[in-house]
Symmetry: C2
């Protein structure tokens, strides 16, 4: 007969797992995927290595959960800005790219890990899936812009993929360099301008 956990035990387990994922995310942000060993994560979470493995079967499974959680938050924020009522699609695109880039520049370590840093293949697979979600939210606003006549005819899926790849690549180097206020502002301005050009928005917009 299998041992059944009580509701209180299940709650404690869920809270411990949550705490572990949060601490692991902080470790990844600090030292990157390669150095975020189970030992380092266990120490940061105030747990034994054995307890970490009670929650996740492998370092890879924990890394995937960290990636999924943090990337999920970013794509959600971007989607909300891109769909926000009361603004035209081009404004929303500019705002969305700006918000995404500023959030990345404010959490450089984590953003670098999510967007670009070499990671184990399981995280790489997850990254491909998330890039698909970014593409979807961009394609939606571009399609709307074409429909509204504020963007020229184009394949919205190609431009959406282009923006997804472009924004990630533009941010790679700045995310691994030390923060500088003015340089960061100029970069965000350039990135937004490039994104609008890429989608064919009129420059004067």
């Amino acid at each position: 007969m299998a041992y059944r956990k009580t509701p209180a035990e299940l709650d404690r387990l869920a809270a411990a797992r949550e705490h572990l994922v949060e601490r692991a995310t902080a470790v990844v942000a600090d030292v990157g995927w390669a150095n975020a060993s189970v030992t380092a994560v266990a120490a940061a979470a105030g747990m034994s290595v054995g307890s970490v493995y009670q929650h996740f079967p492998s370092k890879g499974a924990l890394a995937v959960e960290v990636f999924r959680r943090a990337s999920g938050r970013e794509v959600e924020v971007l989607g909300e800005v891109l769909r926000e009522g009361g603004r035209d699609p081009v404004e929303r695109l500019a705002l969305g790219v700006g918000v995404f880039a500023r959030r990345a520049m404010e959490s450089r370590g984590l953003a670098h890990a999510l967007l670009a840093a070499p990671a184990e293949p399981a995280v790489g697979e997850e990254r491909l899936l998330f890039r698909g979600r970014y593409r979807e939210v961009f394609a939606e606003v571009i399609r709307e812009g074409i429909g509204a006549g504020v963007l020229p005819g184009q394949d919205p899926d190609v431009t959406a993929a282009a923006l997804t790849g472009a924004i990630g690549e533009v941010l790679v180097d700045p995310l691994s360099a030390p923060a500088e206020g003015d340089a960061a502002d100029r970069l965000v301005t350039e990135l937004v301008a490039m994104s609008l050009r890429c989608a064919g928005a009129a420059p004067a917009h």
Copy 2:
């Protein structure tokens, strides 16, 4: 006293290494990084697993060499087209993106492995370095275009990074789908148009 190899032995070793890298590249193109085991590569090269390890200390080292060789060829071809005399910078940019995309579509398996497929971290590191080389060749032609007054003012490094990321991301899905003549042509056309917009080239160019 160390045993010295004769010139004839060194030649044979170099030829065997060359053959091994070529066969390994074909295996990666066929089955991807994850399935390109040392056993599979050894079989394809008609060598023993032990001989493979005489040439490369690890699967990772062989993978890096395969990556470096194949990516080196692509960035060289792109650089040549982007620098070709007798054409203006915008024409060269359009031609370069078109040539790059067509070459990728003609060697889908390999291009997918080079551009996007999750791979071990050592290959990921190498990919970041090569993206830097792509950025340099794009930045050069964009800078030239701005100087010649055929491209608007912009940070050439941002646009170059954007193009590098954009082109890779646009090609990911098509490279993993079966080849279709017309669809491939349309994709290349869209990709070139997007790249020109991204750099701010006048649409009628």
